[in-house]
């Protein structure tokens, strides 16, 4: 891919850990790639797979999901649900042709700003190597194909099937 490609990554963070980890990274002046747009959820367990599909369908090149380490959930065990859903989500995305690098799950406590920053750097570098996802463009091309054909006189004439 060209050097000018800057991936757009949507990052879902947990209010109680990874969002604060990102805050800490900022306060500690840790430098990391600016490609992630963070969205704060109350818990990684709030992450509906629809959010991931929507982000990818509307232009994101990757999605970062982050939450508290297993055992540390503010809501007792919701991050275990995230762990299970992510496992099935990964398999589903693979079947839909989306590289595993593009959607990843990172556990980061409120004290682990450096870990979150490292993970973001690594993810950005890997997605840069993969290139843009362009899902929206693919779908638009499909639409263009449809309207182009249907506005022309159809090849079909005569009787019904």
């Amino acid at each position: 891919m060209t050097d000018t490609f800057e991936p757009v990554i949507v990052g879902f963070t947990c209010n109680w850990c990874s969002y604060r980890a990102a805050d800490l990274a900022g306060m500690a002046r840790i430098k990391y790639a600016p490609n992630v747009r963070l969205i704060r959820l109350m818990c990684s367990g709030r992450l509906d797979p629809q959010f991931v599909f929507k982000a990818l369908a509307e232009g994101a090149d990757g999605v970062l999901i982050s939450g508290c380490h297993p055992g540390d959930c503010h809501y007792i065990e919701q991050n275990y649900k995230t762990m299970r859903r992510f496992a099935l989500l990964k398999r589903t995305l693979a079947a839909l042709g989306i590289e595993p690098t593009r959607v990843r799950l990172v556990w980061a406590s409120a004290a682990e700003g450096n870990i979150l920053a490292e993970e973001i750097d690594r993810m950005v570098a890997e997605i840069k190597a993969l290139g843009p996802l362009n899902w929206k463009q693919r779908m638009m091309k499909d639409k263009g194909h449809l309207s182009a054909v249907s506005s022309q006189p159809t090849a079909v004439t005569g009787g019904a099937q």
Binding site: D48, P49, Q50, V52, F53, K54, L56, A57, P70, E77, Y80, K81, M83, R84, R85, A87, L88, L89, R91, T92, A95, L96, G97, I98, W135, R138, M139, K141, D142, K143, H145, L146, V149, S150, T154, A155, V156, T157, G158, G159, A160, Q161
Partner: protein, 328 residues
């Protein structure tokens, strides 16, 4: 209005199996109401019709069109546009028209692979390895067949749709209820619901209509119904059988789970859900009874085809629409 004063009715099948047409005939004597209140203007399965007759009709001259089937090729799209123009009310009828349906599973593969599968696999007698040609010259002139699109679309991804009627096929009592409603509207006794409404279905999930006993769900293993002695009264998902009921719109009366078959999700997503598969993914993965990543992976091996299972009826209408390979 036709010459006999009755409003016009049309029904069409695009990329479909024909089950929706059977379901309409399966409303028994109610079909006489259709005949009593409507003049059937265009219904290729039931009566002889020519596309040129439909093309010649005035715009908006058909009151009600039921469109079943997905949009797979340019013929499907042409008739969708034509019926949209000629109809006052266009209903996406059945799972294929509303969600893409079973034909929508083709969006997991590039179209040339779909064609290869149809023309080369062992069940096909095609010794010369022939392929359909869009144009073919014969002594009488040139023959054409419709062109396949790269991916399958739901009806409303091609033309605006007034109402959605889900199901594979829609249940006959639901069809009868909708016909009753339209007849009452014609007689001035009722009003049509707002455009965009899902009609002939419920608003909650199949679980709400299922009579099986539900407890806390904890799944250690996914199985298929032939693998275990199925408990006749216990929730199927609790027994490890992949049932789509919890994420699927009600309205069918939970016929499949009541009969011991897991829900396959043909009524599509429930209200306020944009992606059926995502909701089903949530429901199924959350109840896996393990906190160990390796064990979770092992349990998930019991789902051999996650995308096909989660999006059995709704891949074209899902947020991602298709797999990347379909566009390659």
């Amino acid at each position: 209005m036709s010459t006999n004063g009755k409003p016009k009715f049309a029904m069409y099948w695009a990329a479909a199996c024909g089950g929706c047409e059977i379901a309409v005939l399966n409303i028994h004597e109610k079909i006489l109401d259709v005949d009593a209140h409507f003049d059937v203007a265009f219904w290729p399965v039931a009566m002889d019709a020519k596309y040129k007759d439909l093309e010649a009709m005035e715009d908006n001259s058909i009151l009600l069109s039921l469109f079943n089937g997905a949009i797979r090729n340019d013929e499907n799209a042409h008739i969708a546009h034509l019926l949209r123009r000629k109809s006052q009310i266009l209903v996406a009828f059945g799972a294929c028209a509303t969600q893409g349906g079973i034909p929508g599973l083709a969006n997991l593969s590039p179209v040339h692979e779909v064609v290869d599968t149809a023309f080369t696999t062992i069940s096909t007698d095609n010794a010369d390895n022939l392929r359909p040609q869009p144009h073919y010259r014969v002594p009488e002139g040139e023959l054409t067949i419709p062109k396949l699109y790269p991916t399958v679309q739901a009806l409303d991804q091609v033309v605006p749709v007034d109402y959605y009627m889900p199901g594979c096929p829609p249940e006959s009592h639901q069809i009868a209820a909708v016909i009753d409603l339209v007849v009452q509207v014609l007689e001035g006794k009722a009003q049509l619901p707002p455009k965009g409404t899902v009609i002939g279905a419920g608003v909650s999930s199949v679980c709400d209509e299922c009579t099986r006993t539900r407890n806390e769900k904890k799944i250690k293993q996914f199985v298929r119904i032939q693998d275990i002695p199925v408990d006749p009264t216990l929730c199927l998902l609790e027994q490890g059988i992949l049932c789509a009921g919890s994420a699927t719109r009600s309205g069918c009366g939970a016929l499949c789970p009541k009969a011991g078959m897991p829900c396959v999700g043909c009524y599509g997503p429930a209200d306020a859900t944009s992606d059926h598969g995502a909701r089903l993914l949530n429901a199924i993965a959350s109840v896996i009874d393990s906190r160990d990543p390796a064990e979770i992976e092992k349990i998930l091996d019991g789902i051999p085809d996650p995308a096909g299972m989660l999006y059995r009826f709704g891949l074209p209408r899902s947020l991602l629409h298709a797999s990347k390979s379909a566009w390659s």
